[in-house]
């Protein structure tokens, strides 16, 4: 099994091929121009930046605070797009069943979805990097035991593992992040171990060892920077995956609580209205979710092509 999955892995097999191409261009420039060849990917990147800014500045941008129960009122519930709420604010995309302005709810929902996706991704990445590097560096029995654990973890589908975890943990932002970290860390661990093993055998590490540099310095100054490329690729894909998984879990009735809806939760709240013609409650958050995930995946996809030179002509 190990072999089968390693085939699919994103290891910069041709890291030294890339070096050959270096000439006038700096690697970063080259990367940039390669990346920009795909207009879709550039568009995706722009969208991601915009979405991230919206999420960060949610409290400033949102017309109302959808989490302040004293101002949200059921009397505003299920208003159509463009109708005015009691407070006088126009709900441009309508309101949901509890009377939250959809624009505000989506902006805040985006914040939660992105927060959960990126937050769990970063934590999983940190854990994955530590385990992966340790495993690669320690080698021998420790390495084989750790990788066996990783293999076993990866052989179970993420949805199932997350489902079980959330059944036991309950609802909430923190619990959802824990579950998502749990299903993601192993991807990072294996990717980084693979990369590190390749890199460790290279001359520059060997010369660093000969120079008598400390292990810590070798790992953090030399080994780690060379693992960044595959980490970025895996990271982007995993964030998209995490956001989608969170939405699915919310749909199954687990994941985020009702009063702090993520995009997935908003869709599933609106799902019950979809047959009644109140499409805006689930369709707009659905579109926001799709745009987010597709943009991230477009960028991730391009990154993979660009950072994996073997596929280049």
């Amino acid at each position: 099994m190990t072999v089968a999955q390693e085939n699919l892995e994103i290891v910069p097999r041709g890291a030294d091929d890339a070096a050959k191409f270096e000439g006038v261009q700096t690697p970063f420039r080259r990367f940039l121009s390669d990346f920009c060849e795909s207009k879709l990917a550039v568009l995706g990147f722009v969208v991601i930046v915009a979405i991230t800014l919206v999420a960060i500045f949610a409290p400033v941008l949102a017309p109302t605070d959808p989490y302040d129960l004293a101002t949200v009122s059921v009397l505003d519930g299920r208003l159509g797009p463009g109708e005015a709420m009691m407070s006088g604010v126009t709900a441009h995309l309508g309101t949901d069943g509890a009377g939250r302005d959809m624009v505000s709810a989506m902006i805040y929902g985006l914040r939660i979805s992105l927060g959960v996706g990126i937050g769990s991704g970063v934590i999983a990445m940190l854990i994955g990097i530590s385990v992966g590097l340790f495993s690669a560096y320690a080698g021998g029995r420790i390495d084989s035991v750790l990788m066996r654990v990783v293999d076993i973890q990866l052989s179970f589908p993420a949805i199932l593992v997350a489902l079980i975890l959330l059944v036991t943990l309950g609802k909430g932002v923190d619990k959802t992040i824990i579950a998502l970290v749990f299903v993601q860390w192993a991807y990072y661990a294996r990717t980084i171990r693979g990369t590190a093993l390749v890199e460790r055998r290279r001359e520059y590490i060997e010369s660093a060892v000969c120079l008598g540099l400390s292990e810590r310095r070798i790992i953090f100054r030399h080994l780690l920077p060379n693992c960044i490329a595959p980490m970025i690729v895996v990271g982007t894909m995993q964030v998209a995956h995490a956001i989608s998984l969170e939405a699915t879990l919310s749909f199954l009735g687990l994941g985020m609580p009702q009063t702090e809806p993520s995009l997935g939760r908003l869709i599933s709240n609106g799902f019950e209205y979809i047959m009644s013609g109140k499409y805006w409650i689930s369709v707009y958050p659905g579109i926001a979710l799709l745009v987010t995930i597709v943009s991230i995946n477009l960028v991730g996809d391009r990154l993979r092509d660009v950072l994996n030179p073997r596929l280049q002509k």
């Binding site: 059921v74 069943g97 009735g253 047959m275 009644s276």
Partner: protein, 539 residues
């Protein structure tokens, strides 16, 4: 493109298939699946609804729960303080052709009473009763003390054939396992419909019993119950013509379905009241805080004036109108109009934020305090949204309220005994209660009587309301056979427990809605049951 053309052909074929093959067959899309065909395995709504079509009971409720009618029994009366006499209908046959006699009734009660391994037994209804055969069609049920609720109790226990699996079977549950019922071997009743098959997770099929004797109608030759748990999927199945009726129509779809010409709706008020329990037993309550969320050294909820004020802050009309989309009735007590043991004095609390603030100030809480409301999110119609709406209303009136909802499987454990010492964990909870006996004694006994496991009182009293006057009056009512006197006592108990003490805050009575395809109608049932026999052709 080829696949598309094929899909087009497919569409034609489906259209041809989905036209009704036989007018006398009907398919019903239901939310909840029974857990067994064994009539005593699980005392649960979906089971009691489904199995009541296969098995007779001695007595039964009319759909509106306003009257008890005889099914296997033709008449019943109390012949003295402690004995009820039931006369059985003559000529009743079981589906296997054998006769139904008093022996079968006694056999059934014995199996129900001693049932082992079930999920929730009928012992509540069989306990303390001795059954005596007088002749094949006369039965005496004897209790130790006067027992007014006998006809109500006999609407629960179903009657199975004592020869369902040969005679004289011994051992656990009379030698008949739940599996014997589920595969049809022992599922022999005398009701209007015969059991055909149960594909778990998918469907149950029933077939008309030609030899049926009794008051119930048999409008269909074959009834198929399909279990579709997801709300939109159920509505979609009706609109797509896959089923002829669905139950538990989501409130969000009612408005749209009303406009749909191929669908008609039937709705009826149920015996279920949605209400709030408030912590009345702790001096400091875990989820009552200061306005900024710090612990509070007093529990304002112990003061009836505060409870009353909270009740006045709730805009019940807004909840009914906006959250329930008009399908609920604002509540002022335990059961809606037309049920037994209601108080005629109690009115639905009017929305009065000013009066509420005044009352709060009188009680010394004019500056307000903080609360958390806990509720389930998958138990009652729109439960989580109701909790959220209440959170909004209290927050807007100076009691900042957090809302926490959770799946019922976690919620009820915590609400009943989540705190140390098996005490209720929460301070302010949203719950519902459907009166199994059809009168207010059931909720009074379980929700408002002093919590006392030994006596079986206050079993679900999650706010621990306690008033000796209530206990005393209720005790009297439960031992009064005379209906008029008992009704008056129950009304008086309700007046004290809710009117004076505000032991709970009633919100609304649930209204259940069924949707049928055009040309059919459903007689809405107050007990929330979905059965084929109440689905009839319109006109």
């Amino acid at each position: 493109m080829k696949p598309w053309r094929q899909l087009g052909l497919a569409a034609l074929a489906v259209a041809a298939l989905s036209t009704p093959v036989q007018a006398a067959d009907v398919v019903i899309g239901m939310r909840s699946e029974p857990s067994s065909i064994d009539p005593y395995f699980h005392n649960l709504g979906p089971n009691n609804a489904m199995l009541g079509q296969i098995f007779d009971r001695l007595t039964d409720w009319t759909p509106g729960m306003d009257k008890i009618i005889g099914r296997a029994a033709v008449s019943w009366k109390a012949i003295n303080d402690t004995t009820w006499e039931y006369k059985l209908r003559k000529g009743i046959k079981f589906h296997d052709g054998s006769d139904l006699t008093v022996d079968d009734v006694i056999f059934s009660f014995e199996r129900a009473d001693a049932y082992e391994g079930g999920n929730s037994s009928f012992r509540t209804y069989t306990k303390g009763k001795t059954l005596k055969k007088v002749d094949d069609h006369t039965l005496h049920i004897i209790t130790e003390s006067p027992y007014p609720l006998m006809p109500n109790d006999t609407t629960t226990v179903m009657i199975m054939s004592s020869e369902a699996k040969g005679t004289g079977a011994d051992g656990k549950n009379k030698g008949i396992s739940a599996k014997d019922f589920n595969d049809g071997t022992a599922a022999v009743g005398s009701g209007p419909y015969k059991f055909v098959e149960w594909k778990k997770g998918d469907r149950i099929v029933l077939e008309k019993f030609d030899g049926y004797q009794g008051p119930l109608a048999q409008p269909w030759d074959k009834i198929t119950f399909k279990f579709i748990k997801a709300e939109p999927a159920r509505v979609a199945a009706l609109l797509a013509g896959d089923v002829d009726m669905i139950d538990n129509v989501p409130t969000s779809d009612i408005e749209r379905l009303k406009k749909e010409p191929k669908v008609s709706l039937s709705s009826g008020v149920s015996n279920r009241v949605i209400y709030l329990h408030l912590d009345q037993f702790r001096d400091t309550s875990p989820f009552v805080t200061t306005k900024d969320g710090k612990p509070l050294d007093k529990n304002p909820l112990k003061d009836p004036r505060v409870r009353k004020a909270i009740s006045m802050m709730i805009n019940r009309d807004a909840i009914v109108e906006r959250v329930m989309e008009g399908v609920a009735i604002p509540a002022g007590q335990l059961l809606p109009d037309g049920f037994f043991g209601r108080s005629s004095k109690l009115k639905t609390e009017a929305y009065d934020p000013k009066g509420a603030k005044k009352l709060l100030a009188e009680a010394g809480w004019g500056d307000g305090f903080g609360l958390t409301i806990h509720g389930p999110n998958d138990r009652y119609v729109n439960d989580a949204k109701i909790a959220e709406a209440i959170g909004q209303m209290l927050s807007a009136q100076g009691i900042p309220t957090k809302v926490e909802t959770m799946p019922k499987n976690v919620y009820f454990k915590r609400a009943s005994k989540g705190a140390e010492g098996g005490l209720p964990e929460f301070s302010f909870v949203l719950v519902g209660w459907g009166s199994g006996t059809g009168e207010s004694s059931s909720p009074l006994k379980s929700l408002l009587a002093t919590h006392d496991p030994a006596k079986g009182m206050g079993a679900s009293n999650r706010g621990r309301h306690s008033d000796p006057r209530v206990d005393d009056l209720l005790g009297q009512a439960l031992a009064t056979v005379d209906d008029d006197k008992r009704g008056a006592l129950l009304a008086q108990t309700t007046d004290i427990a809710i009117g004076e003490n505000q032991g709970i805050i009633p919100l609304h009575y649930q209204v259940n809605t069924w949707a049928t395809r055009q040309g059919l109608k459903y007689n809405p049932r107050a007990d929330e049951r979905t059965v084929g026999i109440d689905l009839v052709p319109a006109n």
